[in-house]
């Protein structure tokens, strides 16, 4: 930890925002600070439009969500302060499950539009995930080299940093997109069940940033998922989580299984990935109960790693300590 990090971390603790990613220093002077571990759930059935989605409604949902996250602050001000114009912003999507189970391209396009309006040039935005082929299968167009446009490539194009990042049970090479190309990251996981680790949301989405995710699914991902999310390189660059819950899946994941997908028409926004994952877990459990599936614990895949992350102090895992703000629900 260098002197600057030490001072910033001290300020964070002093301000009571120890779970939160730390925006540029002027953010607190311009906008209201978010309540610790607030998770905003925005639901709007009007987002669905003749078999697809309505881009204008998604845009409004984003504005409303980000505004509520920061206590009704002007959305554009929040975007500007979270993502300074000189930043290169990585958008970490989740594409492994193909087009229907991935972060929706329309949502990602709406996020890009917000960033552009906040002053980020297209060439400073990178959509990324594990493999080029995953991105293409999910409907994204690859752009590896043209720096005048939004770039889009997988770790197989970016390569991995040659440092071995170690934390607790995890030792991995980390994508250069995260370590070298991006200053900040918007994490866009999909609200869905996972057949081994219970659910796959904010924290688990960073399995797509390392070279050896296959090593970390044992014991329902506990403590591996938490140990990975605790890594400094991830915590330092994660600025915002926008969980894609336009379609959500409560069983059979992570592959897309249409019989267990429901049109939730929602987004979840948070700065605390642990809190968002805890809320997402609760939503999936409720849907499972409603449709006759056993709780994840009985299914042998309780996402204990979320509680571990809470115990580690990297986020809030206690539901009654999370401010779960619902809009349109």
């Amino acid at each position: 930890m260098n002197r600057r990090d030490f001072i910033l971390n001290s300020l964070k603790i002093g301000a009571g925002f120890s779970f939160l990613p730390f925006p540029d220093k002027n953010v607190f002077s311009l906008i209201s600070a978010p309540v610790n571990s607030r998770v905003v759930e925005i639901v709007n059935p009007a987002v669905r439009k003749s078999g697809s989605f309505n881009a204008a409604v998604i845009s409004r949902m984003l504005d409303e969500g980000i505004s509520q996250l920061y206590g009704n602050e002007n959305p554009r001000t929040v975007w500007k302060n979270l993502f300074p114009a000189h930043h290169t912003v990585g958008i970490k999507v989740n594409c492994l499950s193909g087009k229907h189970g991935a972060s929706h391209t329309m949502l990602v396009e709406a996020v890009i539009e917000k960033l552009r309006r906040a002053g980020i040039p297209p060439g400073s935005i990178i959509i990324w995930d594990r493999l080029d082929r995953d991105l293409e299968n999910a409907g994204f167009s690859l752009n590896r080299t043209n720096k005048n446009k939004v770039r889009c490539f997988g770790n197989d194009t970016a390569g991995f940093d040659r440092k071995l990042y170690m934390n607790g049970s995890v030792a991995s090479l980390v994508s250069r997109t995260l370590t070298q190309f991006c200053d900040s990251v918007i994490n866009i996981p999909v609200l869905k069940d996972h057949g081994i680790v219970g659910i796959t949301l904010s924290m688990k989405n960073f399995f797509g940033a390392i070279h050896n995710p296959n090593k970390y699914h044992a014991s329902a991902g506990n403590p591996f998922v938490a140990d990975l999310y605790e890594m400094d390189i991830i915590r330092r660059k994660s600025r915002l989580i926008i969980c894609d819950a336009l379609d959500a899946q409560h069983e059979g994941g992570p592959p897309f299984k249409p019989q267990w997908v429901w049109p939730m028409n929602g987004l979840l926004l948070a700065l605390d990935g642990v809190a968002l994952d805890r809320v997402g877990w609760e939503i999936i459990e409720r849907k499972r109960a409603e449709t006759g599936f056993p709780p994840l614990e009985k299914a042998g895949r309780k996402p204990e790693y979320i509680l571990t992350a809470g115990q580690k102090g990297i986020g809030q895992s206690q539901l009654d300590e999370i401010e779960w703000v619902k809009s349109g629900v």
């Binding site: 991995f160 071995l164 250069r176």
Partner: protein, 379 residues
Amino acid sequence: MNKTYDAERRLFIKNCAAVSGGSLLASLLPAPDLFAAASPGVDRAFEARWYEKLPYKKVKCKLCPRECVVDDRERGYCGVRENWDGVYYSLVYSHPCTYHIDPIEKKPLFHFLPGAAAFSLATVGCNVDCKFCQNWQISQTRPEQVDNFDLSPKEIAEMARTDRIPVIACTYSEPVVFSEYMHDIAREGNDRNIRSVMISNGYIQEAPMRELAKVLTAVKIDLKAFTEKYYREIVAGELKPVLDTLVLLRKLGIWTEIVYLMVPTLNDSDRELKQLSVWIARNLGKDMPVHFTRFYPQYRMQNLPPTPLKTLERARDIALGEGLHYVYVGNVPGHAGENTYCPNCQKALIRRKGFLIMENRLENGKCPDCGASIPGIWT
């Protein structure tokens, strides 16, 4: 606290350790290029031989005891087998990431064609995750993260034949994860009078091991410790299936040798070494060669020193004391414990220095002094 280690510094230390320890493997392996290479995709894949199809396009891998249940578009723990629409594929068949010609002593196999050259190859991937792995840059990566060759089993066997190399060794990473490829290479090798050996952790199910045994001539097993705790915490595997493999290999009559890497304070107690030796003598026989080899700090285990020589000598003494006949000290070039001695008259039969054979006095597999038969494959 997060820890990062600079790769350049690590490489330097590794090379120093490799040279000083006599293990040239680390320095000989090409550094995998983690910045290039295309995704292998199923177009370059080969359907796996040992798996079960499950409902909803899931599969259960039946290759190693881990029995990964793998969802569509996901991979198993090894990282080199992928489920695609309910069909499980090996992504590394015909795609080795490295090949090299080594002396057989480097494997090490000491009772197998002394001084022979071995055409040695590996693909990426491993079904465990040893914290001390010296080849983690290939064993703990995925196919798309390194440059790979396109070499069919037939091409491998032909390369060995052309260079008059009598042995093909599947080694470096973990051959279990490329079992189909290894099997077919060995079959092609046999057709050309080239013998094949597997240098493995032994973490494999019985059925695939039986299939492999039909085409392999010898096996070296890394028995990493003699406690489940060590296997669980340091290896991310299990001891019991490895012991089962050793017993199976003996039953099948495959020439086998054991390597036991001595990691200071973690698997080097007198008690554990005694239990190990007793188990080997009872279950595998006193003629089973055992190599106690020196550990060097690698990968995630940078906090321990190299194994003291005295520890290795103590281990050898304990094993000899329990009646084992062929106990070696490894990774200590020039040590007397590298030599093969006749268990009957105690005379030195094969003198080694590192990977070199300095003298081989065996005559038709027998001690020239007392006539005792020395087990192994000598011709």
